[in-house]
Amino acid sequence: MSWFTQTIKSSLGKKYIMSLTGLMLGGFLLVHAAGNSSIFFGRAAFLSYAGHLHGLGFLLHAAELLLLAIFLVHILTGTILFLGNLGARSSRYAVHNSAGGRSWGSATMPYTGMVIFCFILIHLFNFHFTDHSRTIADIVAEVLARPFYTFIYIVGLSGLGLHVSHGFWSMFQSLGISHPKYDRVIRACAWLVCGLITAVFILIVLLLLVNSNILV
């Protein structure tokens, strides 16, 4: 077995994969959040951002494919880890309790992962695999004006927030980046990034619920 397959097949190797793909997905989220915040500046700004994005042409498609690949690897590895972990404890405890280590985020990682997956499917069907004869601004305004979708989006985005709240710090830990000098900074960054991404997306959703005219 080559060193590479041996590494990625090991439990730690899988964690590296989770961290690295998580890092890239986090990077995508930041860019996505930054782009989407053009909505705050109205229809013109948003359409201009969308126009520039689509102007990338081939590059955009390549990026999409790459993102899809990263995403699939993250999900696949996560699923393997989840099943492996279930199997590592053949008999369950009669009484479950936490000694204080777990957080909501860490305890729900696989489940928030599934929520995010479903949410992304809905999100893609809403905005990607849809009739593109109208502008993206019209589509977004229409979908997010409906309270049903507001609810779905808030649930999905909360799941995302919870997932990232553990995932970001966990990524550093899994890659072995831990030092008394920098621990607090890493913690702070984790909360900041998680809070920022979630806040931006949720604000957009709420904004469009109360005022869909911003994109008209």
Partner: protein, 256 residues
Amino acid sequence: MAAKIISLNLKVWRQNGPDKKGALENYRLENISIDMSFLEMIDVLNEKLTVEGKEPVAFDHDCREGICGMCGAVVDGIAHGPEKETTLCQLHMRHFQDGQTLTIEPFRAKAFPVIKDLVVDRSSLDIIIQAGGFISVNTGSAPDANGIPVPQHKAEQAMDAAACIGCGACVAACPNAAAMLFVSAKISQLALLPQGAPEREKRALSMVQAMDKEGFGNCTNERECEAVCPKGISIRNIARLNREFLRASLLSDEQG
């Protein structure tokens, strides 16, 4: 001040053998002195069962001063019970209330099959050490002890990690039954000391491989291990293990 004597309702896991089906059984204990240790409380239960003509509860224990790592059970869902940095033998009954119901279960993990009642087989931890938890120096071939200076803080950090008693509570408490805290403690101790340097990469590769082979789960950084560890071993050691393994995988010439 609380009463010096308390009564307890116990639900204790009884299982007659590795392949037998187990179940919780109820017992009532009166007149438990709050100065007793948890294991002395089980002693009292066992004396009572013996006199009543029943089978006493099998449980592992030896030094009863918190250092041998032999004892351990899950009390109300927490390995070694509710007190921080305390083994079961050093947990005293003054931490419980009169009339409280306690559920006592064995450490559960696929890699720790139950032998009987609260006794589990933790030999998988020894197998991991066999894979590389040592420094290869034959008796007699050591240089003078002061030959290689070790910075005090490094020695202290190594000692922090070396304090692991191998009780397996980290595995029992981990939602994924992972043995990362145990493995990382040994890897850290030897990686922090200059004496461990020659085998540093090989050690990280082999010990992780052995850990995976023994059927432990994967770490998801839940920190439950650190929370129950009777010796306060930090998950900083797990980060170091992650680093050591990554470094060894990417840079070493060794095959694991």
